[in-house]
Symmetry: none
């Protein structure tokens, strides 16, 4: 506690400083938007000096990319850990876990959604952002598609197309997250989850029911 107000800022391990800056960047984007985020707002948010960002990251662009990559990695590693896990006793359980994860408090944090969508708007025009977004997206869609295929096989859902369903599910997630971010009064986490649950339930009625409740904290 006392140490946190220490004015003699001591050198910290590189990785710690970098993470501080990445977190400060997320907060600044959530507060001020991407276009309102400057090196000044970031370092002020981190309570560090202006020069430090360029010391640890070569440029503003690098810092922003690192921030995007961090958010993205966190999401992907969570989701792929879940999808590749062998702990679930059934595919149905895994499907429910996926749904819970996608609308968990952690994933739907305002800070993270804000960062995510801020970069979407710019991704097309910045190769670095684009690569991060595309890679992440492809991975997620592939992993979900694989799960859906297993479920289709298991449930013998005739005429179900895993790829189309995966595209639809991820698109629905994007759309619902956008709603959570932009119109939080109309669409809250519960309602959004319900909508996504309906989607899965109508595709895989043998595996998931519309009234399945969340196990999220």
């Amino acid at each position: 506690m006392a140490a946190s107000k220490d004015k003699l800022r001591r050198a910290l391990p590189k990785e710690v400083r970098k993470q501080q800056l990445i977190d400060a960047t997320s907060r600044s984007i959530a507060k001020n938007g991407l276009s309102g985020t400057t090196m000044a707002t970031i370092t002020r948010e981190a309570e560090l000096s202006m020069g430090i960002a360029n010391l640890h990251f070569k440029s503003k662009d690098m810092l922003l990319s690192a921030t995007l990559a961090h958010i993205t990695d966190e999401y992907n590693s969570g989701q792929s850990g879940l999808l590749s896990s062998t702990e679930y006793s059934s595919l149905a359980d895994k499907l429910k876990a996926l749904l819970d994860f996608n609308f968990s408090a952690k994933v739907t944090q305002k800070n993270k959604l804000a960062v995510w969508f801020a970069f979407w708007g710019e991704a097309k025009f910045r190769p670095t952002y684009k690569r991060i977004c595309s890679t992440s997206d492809a991975m997620a869609e592939k992993a979900i598609g694989d799960l859906f295929q297993q479920i289709i096989d298991e449930g013998r859902y005739k005429e179900a197309d895993a790829e189309l369903l995966a595209i639809g599910y991820t698109a629905l997630l994007d759309g619902l997250w956008l709603d959570l971010l932009v119109t939080p009064r109309t669409v809250n986490r519960e309602k959004a989850r319900k909508v996504a649950c309906h989607y899965l339930a109508s595709a895989f009625p043998k595996h998931i029911k519309v009234d399945v409740t969340s196990h999220d904290k």
Copy 2:
């Protein structure tokens, strides 16, 4: 081509010039992104001089707002015209028309989607943009919800919730449009339409089939 190099300074009606500038703004956003769009890129795109934008719009912000409002109005007037039309012989036809409209070439133009999503990222932090986006959004969702309710009543779909379905459908549209913009190779217009069609078909099986084909040019 020859005409485009016409250096003659010709005075045009105010409304024509304003529209030229709005169009140039859309193109610039589609080419350079919102953060890469400057008064210079806009006026260069319009092949006009720098000062003209501030002559017809008081500030860059006003021009951007006008551009957003234009895209938004165009979409909304198209959709609400369709939804309030009495020319359709059945609700099923109207539903198909809605689907066709949402994935028509006009609505899914790259320029328009780019503008749309560029502003979404910033809307939270700019009251003017926010108002335009929120209004448009609420209108669209309400109108779609009304149609869905009529369909539910007509089809006696038990347990169907018009509001949730409307939220889901609009979220799915947003997500699919985002895919069309960002990953056009993976998701094209046909595929996106198919995904949305599946969504409607599983909600309203008596009114729309998954294999219904588009009548779009």
Copy 3:
């Protein structure tokens, strides 16, 4: 009356248009200051189109110079007419007439004082303005000095120095006019006149008394 609202602006004699523009310039400077006066404020004040000023005057600078010259000429011709007049029955009368003139409503009009002092601040840096101001100043001081010399001769005021008195009187006028313009609540026309009258009375006690009243309307 009806004609004044005539939208078909008919061509007017050059001199009339020029004068309209000069008057509009004075009003604009009085309203907006010199730095706040643009071709737009001037032509709006004149209820004419933007282009007309450059049609009748080669440049903004020329129009401003003409405005300064007009105010200056008006003052100088009034004063020199008075000083060279042979209608006064005595030097004392002429001295009183000078005082009355210097604090007449016409000379102390806010518009005119505002123009006058606006240019003083800039005169040093614009040769054209400087020439107009210097010429006018020298003329006024010379003419006043001549009158003072006659009065000194007539009154046998020993040790009185016409040049110093003229410098003092003109400086006092400038200072009092500045007060009228800037602090009109503290110093009004009556009070300013009284102060100047005191100055003259203490220099030429045989010719003018401190309680001499104004004959101004």
Copy 4:
């Protein structure tokens, strides 16, 4: 000379830099006038980079206001220090000291007079400038009026009006300073002082004589 080309970027205490900028602003106004003074002329005069002015002052207007306030404060603190001093053995001495101060080399520096009159022209239209000017003016006139009243009481000058004399003296100062700035060939410091001395001498003959010499360096 060699030092002036020193391109070394040396961080200096904030107050030092601010003062450098204020001084550079005065010099630029004296050289180029207020309308000819841009951020570029100021920073060039200070031999610093363009951005620095907005780093230490939030805007050009703030820098200009600070410059006006500085000149004004310097004058007022000098004058009020003098008027409230108890070191003078007589009121006559204090009166002479006031006169010397008003025409001292320091007060009549071209730079300072130029700044002073540049702002007078604009003060009416800029609330910030107006407040600074009005406050300064009122203070000066009040302090001088108080001194004059004491002198009147001591000298038993019948019919002398301290307020009118103070208005007259300050107006005369303004007018003479304007002459010093604009027509330095006709009116120099000695002559201007003499004129003001005459004014005081004719008002307070028992306290000051017309031939009293200056003790200024």
